[in-house]
Amino acid sequence: MTAADDGSTALHQVLDKSGMAHTVARMAAEILERDGDDLMLVGIHTRGVPLADRLARALEEATGRKVAVGWLDISLYRDDVGPWRPAHQQPVLKETVLPDSIDDRVIYLIDDVIFTGRTTRAGLDTLLDWGRPLAVRLAVLVDRGHRELPIAADIVGKVLNTARDEDVRVRFAEVDGEDGVWVGSGVNGAD
């Protein structure tokens, strides 16, 4: 079953498999132009992880050099769960893996969607407890607007004008079995 035909919401597709591949390739080119290839990509769980892997592959194809890739779990730094929000279950923790020290390096935080900016804030706080990077940049596949914190992405694959209560679904074959981005009137806003 694909995101488009699960019947629960009226979704329309804004990026298909090849559109997503082109977008990722362009994002990789922009990263290369801005910072070269001496950097580390750090994907935020869940869908920042496959996006970081694909960006790394695109960078490696362009330069022939291996790119360091890590994964970040932000659960311990979130502002919407914890003892001060007792009705909300704690997220199930996932693995944080940084392949190397982040000190004095350019780090790209990678996420699928930027929405309120709260995930990015938690991601920054998580990352900075692991060291002191030379610079931290943010690359996202989709910027859907509605920021609640003063945070902006450096590299954006696609800007989507959405209503606050619309649903943006990014799907990666590695996690979801298919590639694509959908928008529609649903109940959940992805961030």
Partner: protein, 319 residues
């Protein structure tokens, strides 16, 4: 035995292994596994419990369990208050419930309790609305110890199911043995108790474990050998002729350890009596994972605090 996955704990307290489901045990161990790396970061602290207050109510002497809880609480950014029976109002005759009611006025979010009376944490959990974590009650349970032991075994063997675990020593007075028996049998491991008859519990059959009066046959093919301390402070009379004789018949020596599987690991909840229940050569040997147990203890206690700080599994989640 199928394990039903859990994404949250169902109760407000962790007072014993008995009331945890296999899925909840798995969730605590998985969460602890991810929390181990907090100790390896440049900044060994995460903000998950900031603004929370934990009271550590220790009515019985403890060094490592109290330190372990305190480190766990601090790594999660909770504020900690330490309360011990000596030098407090308890020594002036105040009852546990009066102490607890007074502590409630300080608005704690968690009470970690160690108490000489079996069942004290359960009683406390009934009368106060905050989360109670049992850090050892009398001869009943020590759930966080069993969970850290389970994490240590799982790291070595991948799974608990099918493991042959020998627990030897003062079983009758050991809450560690009871909690381990509950946990390991639930998770599909085989538990073998070893002790002189005077130190075996009376309800050994109800626990679903086998019992041995000699250590050699129990060690045969064992994956894990857990040695317990002889708890002189809990024995009304000495239940065996001498320490020397106990060592000769029941201590884990290098020769006896060779009866276990080649890959067997040696565990001890501490504090060890070297030369009584365990030979130094074994305690410090290659098969010993005793210090891993200490490291894992902090992670398991962090996991329980983290999970109890969130909503229960019946509570509706927002996504």
């Amino acid at each position: 035995m199928p394990i039903e996955a859990a994404t949250a704990l169902s109760g407000k307290d962790v007072v014993g292994i008995g009331h945890l489901s296999t899925g909840e045990i798995q969730l605590i161990l998985d969460t602890a596994e991810e929390l181990l790396d907090v100790a390896e970061r440049p900044i060994k602290k995460v903000p998950a419990l900031r603004g929370s207050t934990v009271v550590n109510l220790f009515m019985e002497p403890s060094t490592r369990t109290r330190f372990s809880f305190e480190v766990a609480e601090k790594r999660l950014s909770a504020d900690t208050l330490n309360f011990s029976s000596s030098g407090s109002s308890v020594s002036k005759g105040e009852t546990l419930l009066d102490t607890a009611r007074n502590l409630m006025a300080m608005a704690p979010d968690f009470i970690v309790i160690r108490h000489p009376n079996s069942g004290a944490p359960h009683r406390l959990a009934e009368v106060v609305p905050v989360s109670i974590i049992n850090a050892g009650d009398g001869i009943n349970e020590h759930p966080t110890q069993a969970l850290l032991d389970a994490l240590t075994m799982r790291q070595r063997f991948g799974s608990l199911a099918g493991l042959k675990v020998v627990i030897a020593g003062d079983i009758r007075h050991s809450r560690v043995a009871r909690s381990n028996a509950f946990l390991l049998t639930k998770m599909g491991a085989e538990v073998r108790f070893v002790a002189p008859a005077s130190l075996l519990p009376l309800d050994v059959e109800d626990l679903g474990v086998s019992s041995f009066l000699r250590i050699e046959p129990a060690l045969e093919g064992a994956d894990v050998v857990m040695m317990l301390r002889i708890q002189l402070e809990r024995q009304k009379k000495i239940n065996f002729p001498s320490m020397r004789e106990y060592f000769d018949f029941f201590a884990l020596t290098p020769e006896r350890l060779r009866l276990a599987a080649d890959h067997a690991v040696v565990m001890h909840p501490g504090p060890m009596n070297r030369g009584v229940e365990i030979d130094s050569l074994v305690a410090d040997g290659e098969q010993s994972v005793i210090l891993d147990q200490v490291t894992n203890g902090v992670a398991v206690r962090m996991a329980i605090l983290y999970l109890l700080a969130g909503g229960r599994s019946e509570a509706a989640s927002d996504s």
